[in-house]
């Protein structure tokens, strides 16, 4: 008797759970995956969007630009988020620029160095300049902090600053903008690069080639470290994906972006 009761209970559990067992991608859920740089903003959009569309689930996953693009290609998500330009075999996807983001080279607020040339930054990250002294700072070893291989932010930095030169192997490597910021905020000798939107009072963004990292300078083209934030999809976005992208590109969506420190595209 007891066994039968246990079996029944188990069966009931399974039955109770099974309607909840929806496959991802099915039903009314829109899945975004990709760049962790875009993720916080996408979360913000999703939060606001779902307030006006309560029956419309938006699920934002990280994973990084490359993974997001791959997930989009394979159909695991409807929208891939990329913080770098598409390349190679990714070019058959449709990309929409939904915002632009400045890359800030950040140091500890106590660091006397306020401005650098892009070529200096390149030499620092190549491991050729090891001390702050030739740059006008104290005679201390520079703690270089970079992002990991595969990150869109690193990809953009590589493309915009480093060119063909490698970031040197001894650089401290972390896997998110937030972590880079934390480390720079705590180490007086550190330098790193993060999304301009994430610069706060804990770190200082350096002027590059005489231009401060401001929205204005990015707008007028004087600050050069800018990358696009892309939503990519297989073919023209349709249905729910279209609705969401339209919302992001709408005045309200873009205003949200501006508030968070990104550059609107409209």
């Amino acid at each position: 008797m007891k066994h039968r009761r246990t079996a029944l209970l188990l069966f009931a559990l399974v039955v109770a759970f099974s309607p909840a067992c929806r496959r991802p991608g099915g039903g009314s859920e829109l899945i975004l995956a990709g760049s962790t740089s875009i993720q916080p903003f996408a979360d913000k959009w999703a939060e606001v969007f779902m307030q006006s569309h309560p029956d419309f689930g938006v699920n934002v996953q990280g994973g990084g630009s490359s993974a997001g693009i791959q997930a989009c290609k394979s159909g695991a998500c409807q929208i891939g988020m990329s913080s770098r330009e598409l390349k190679g075999d990714e070019l058959d996807l449709v990309a929409v620029v939904i915002a632009r983001d400045g890359l800030a080279v950040v140091v500890h607020p106590s660091n006397p160095v306020r401005a650098l040339r892009t070529s200096d930054v390149k030499q620092i990250f190549a491991g050729d300049i090891m001390s702050w002294r030739p740059l006008g700072g104290p005679d201390k070893r520079i703690t270089v902090v970079t992002r990991e291989e595969g990150s869109g932010t690193r990809g953009a930095f590589q493309e915009l600053v480093m060119g063909k030169t490698r970031i040197f192997r001894g650089a401290i490597t972390e896997d998110s903008n937030g972590t880079v910021r934390e480390i720079v905020a705590n180490d007086p000798c550190a330098v790193g690069f993060i999304s301009l939107g994430l610069v706060n009072e804990q770190v200082r963004a350096l002027d590059l080639d005489g231009a401060a990292a401001t929205d204005e300078n990015i707008g007028n083209g004087r600050y050069k470290l800018v990358r696009p934030f892309l939503f990519v999809s297989r073919g023209e976005p349709a249905g729910r994906a279209r609705e969401f992208i339209d919302f992001v590109l709408s005045a309200a969506g873009q205003e949200l972006v501006r508030k968070e420190g990104l550059l609107p595209v409209r």
Partner: protein
């Protein structure tokens, strides 16, 4: 009352018992099957790329630039070794001391206080250890010794603490397994407590203590989240204790989320190297403890 009662019933029960036995055997193979499936998947995902680029360029290459198709794991292999050695240098003396105090010197009441504390040590999530490293140890090292603070030293200390429970519990078992007559004999011959520990207990419990160290090593090699938080993760062989270091585990965890294509395969290859190291350590630990069981 003579004669068969419910003659068939017992036989049916016995047949059920045979079925149950079979079912349990199937269940009992779950652990082995899981191990097998894990091996197949990790090796299956990780080895093709090693064949494609050659084992030598993987294991001995010192450049890790996946975007340029350079997959040298040598810095990570050395990094794992350094950090593990550092963890042992810290964890083993502390761990063995605790084990000796617990089995030989502490009164029952003190033991009752210390033991739960050490068991608690095992339960604290590794991210909490990593976090303590970030907020306390790393700034301390940076201020005191210079450098970025995220370093071999920081990782060694934190991992040293993390392997303590493993080292302690297995050494305690080994020390307690020494027959009391050894201890009594030694004391009767006029040896002091410490002399007894040094001359009698340690040699007698040697294989168990070695097993505890090897298992602690396995824990240190395999730890991921704490290491990633405090080691700095530079893919270069560290030149000093204060330099950042990347281990095999952090290499996987750091880049896994973002990797695609060959990059992801290379991370699985990292997993294969890690897996092989762990299996070798496991086998050694198993062999030493098996020897211990045979020779009481």
């Amino acid at each position: 009352m003579a004669g068969p009662k419910k003659a068939g019933a017992g036989n049916r029960l016995e047949r059920n018992d045979r079925l149950i036995r079979l079912a349990l055997l199937v269940v009992a193979f779950s652990a082995v099957s899981v191990l097998l499936v894990i091996t197949v998947f990790i090796v299956g995902q990780g080895t093709p790329i090693m064949f494609r680029y050659g084992f030598k360029s993987f294991l001995a290459g010192s450049d890790w630039y996946p975007s340029e198709k350079l997959f040298g794991l040598w810095p990570m292999i050395v990094g794992s070794l350094f950090v593990t050695a550092g963890a042992l240098a810290i964890g083993v003396p502390f761990g063995l001391s605790c084990a000796i105090v617990l089995t030989e010197f502490a009164s029952k009441r003190v033991r009752g206080l210390i033991k739960p504390v050490i068991e608690l040590l095992a339960g604290i999530p590794s991210v909490v250890y990593g976090f303590m490293g970030v907020v306390i140890l790393v700034p301390f090292i940076r201020r005191t010794f210079g450098g970025p603070g995220l370093s071999v030293l920081a990782a060694s200390i934190i991992l040293g603490v993390m392997i303590l429970p493993t080292v302690i519990s297995i050494s305690v078992d080994a020390l307690q397994a020494v027959p009391p007559s050894y201890r009594e004999g030694s004391i009767a011959l006029g040896a002091t407590r410490w002399q007894t520990v040094k001359m009698v207990l340690f040699p007698a419990a040697r294989s168990g203590i070695i097993a505890s160290i090897i298992l602690g090593m396995g824990r240190a090699v395999g730890e991921t989240m704490a290491t990633i938080m405090i080691a700095g993760n530079a893919a270069e062989i560290p030149r000093s204790l204060l330099a950042p270091v990347r281990t095999l585990t952090s290499n996987v965890a750091l880049e896994m989320g973002y990797a695609t294509g060959e990059h992801r395969e290379a991370l699985f290859a990292t997993g294969v190297v890690l897996f092989v190291i762990i299996m070798v350590l496991n086998t050694i630990a198993n062999a030493t403890s098996a020897k211990r069981r045979k020779a009481p």
